[in-house]
């Protein structure tokens, strides 16, 4: 579903991604782990072209993303993204946050969009907050709204960029539970995370990145359980 070939990304002289090859299958949940500065987030952001890649190719459903002829806005409607800092629109109510893109991009009628938004809010357990503003919500609630907002475009793929890193510890679980539910429903997901327990439990594949490379990749039991790789061992030794 996502095919990544020889992905390179530099910021000025700093090479952050030094050649990534990977394929994500449909309905697969892939967790990306690794020390900070290893290029995890950049890797994720390259997939929907929030970062322009320096070299390489990315295909989503066999459409080349970094082709000048490709309409990137169309690709992005199929790829939902959830950010570390939530990035809800503070001047809109929760329901307006969710309905904005379906109305503006999908040309959905306002009524239908609101019906869809309320369904999604039920799903993330926040229906009663529909008419509140984001700053009246806790961090965990905001992130669940952000997930609902991304889901409103009915994407085929969901990208999560450290979705729980900005949350107070007691709010992490409510967000992870929503993500777990999504995974069980068969959503294709790529998740950059520091939640090792979550990765081990939910992921179909785990990628360990370090220094701009994929150092190791495999089933979570292989990576967490009995890795042979020294760098993976050193990293997991520090975080587990």
């Amino acid at each position: 579903m996502i095919k990544i070939k020889n992905l390179h990304k530099s910021f000025g002289n700093l090479e952050v991604l030094k050649g990534i090859d990977y394929e994500v299958q449909e309905k697969e949940v892939v967790c990306v782990i690794g020390p900070s500065g290893s290029g995890k987030s950049t890797f994720l952001r390259c997939i929907n072209l929030l970062e322009e890649m320096t070299d390489g190719e990315i295909y989503i459903d066999d459409v080349k993303v970094n082709d000048p002829k490709t309409n990137i806005n169309e690709i992005r409607t199929e790829v939902g993204m959830v950010f570390q800092q939530f990035n809800l629109f503070p001047h809109m109510t929760v329901i307006e946050n969710i309905t904005m893109a379906p109305i503006q991009v999908r040309k959905m009628a306002k009524k239908d969009a609101e019906k869809l938004a309320l369904e999604l809010l039920d799903k993330v357990g926040l229906r009663e907050k529909a008419y509140n503003y984001p700053d009246q919500l806790s961090g965990g609630q905001q992130q669940r709204v952000a997930i609902a907002r991304a889901l409103a475009m009915k994407p085929k793929i969901m990208l999560f960029d450290e979705p729980t890193s900005a949350l107070d510890p007691e709010m992490v679980k409510e967000v992870l539970d929503v993500m777990k539910q999504l995974a069980e429903e068969g959503m294709t997901m790529v998740i950059v995370t520091h939640e090792m327990g979550f990765a081990r439990e939910v992921a179909d594949r785990v990628i360990f990145m370090d220094g701009g490379y994929i150092v190791e990749e495999g089933h979570p039991e292989e990576v967490f359980g009995h890795t042979q790789n020294e760098r993976t061992k050193a990293f997991l030794g520090k975080v587990l």
Binding site: M81, F83, N87, P90, N132, M153
Partner: protein
């Protein structure tokens, strides 16, 4: 002159001139501000543009008009630019409004640019990640937020322009200051006419200050006209009825 021996009657005798002065000052300022706002928004957007063909002309314009005194600009526009282009002068009103528009546009442009750039980058990224085009994200997500932050500095700019409009007296516009100068010329007394001019400007700027404060409140998230009086009692967790009616 005895300080306590003020004669307000000499000003009162010229009240029509002062009333006309208020009218001229207010209309000059409003026309200049509205024109400046439109031109300034374009220039401000231009200054956030990635295209150098849009960025550089906008930047040069702003630097030019912010870097030179308004008094000089008024004189150049009235005595040089307009007569050279049109072959004649159209009077102080046209020259004055033109000068105020061109000058305030430069300041408004900076307010617009700063407002847009003050919005967190994540907002644009979130909007783009949902499939919105750059211009749609600008209109729906960035500008509404930036606009709120622009209200106080735009209000300041209006007040500054109101005061700076007094410079048009040099091209014989009969604004508030001009009325004072007529009285000065007639009676050779300085306190009364200039104090009255100062007081009139003060009253006008005070009204604008109040107006800006109201607009600022009106555009905040938590303004709800139906429940204005009980706003302080609203618990953030409560839905207030005004909003649930969709």
């Amino acid at each position: 002159m005895n300080f306590f021996d003020l004669r307000w009657d000499i000003v009162w005798n010229y009240r029509d001139l002062f009333l006309r002065g208020i009218w001229v000052t207010v209309s000059l300022t409003i026309c200049g501000y509205l024109g400046g706002l439109i031109l300034g928004i374009l220039l401000g957007l231009g200054k956030t543009s990635k295209s150098k063909w849009i960025y550089w002309p906008s930047k040069i314009y702003v630097d030019l008009f912010r870097g030179t005194p308004m008094l000089v600009q008024i004189l150049i526009i009235h005595l040089a630019v307009i007569p050279s282009i049109f072959g004649q002068s159209y009077g102080y009103m046209v020259s004055g409004i033109a000068a105020l528009i061109l000058n305030s546009a430069a300041y408004v442009a900076e307010i617009i640019r700063a407002g847009i750039q003050s919005i967190d980058k994540g907002q644009m990224e979130a909007a783009r990640s949902l499939g919105l085009t750059h211009s749609k994200a600008m209109v729906k997500v960035i500008l509404p937020q930036a606009f709120r932050r622009m209200i106080p500095p735009l209000g300041n700019e209006f007040i500054a322009l109101l005061k700076d409009s007094s410079l048009v007296t040099v091209i014989a516009a009969n604004d508030i200051l001009y009325a004072s100068k007529v009285v000065v010329g007639a009676y050779q007394r300085f306190w009364e006419p200039y104090l009255v001019a100062a007081a009139l400007y003060l009253i006008l700027t005070y009204i604008v200050t109040k107006l800006v404060a109201y607009i600022e409140k009106r555009f905040s998230n938590h303004y709800n006209p139906r429940k204005r009086r009980s706003r302080k009692l609203d618990h953030p967790q409560n839905n207030d009825e005004g909003r649930t009616a969709v």
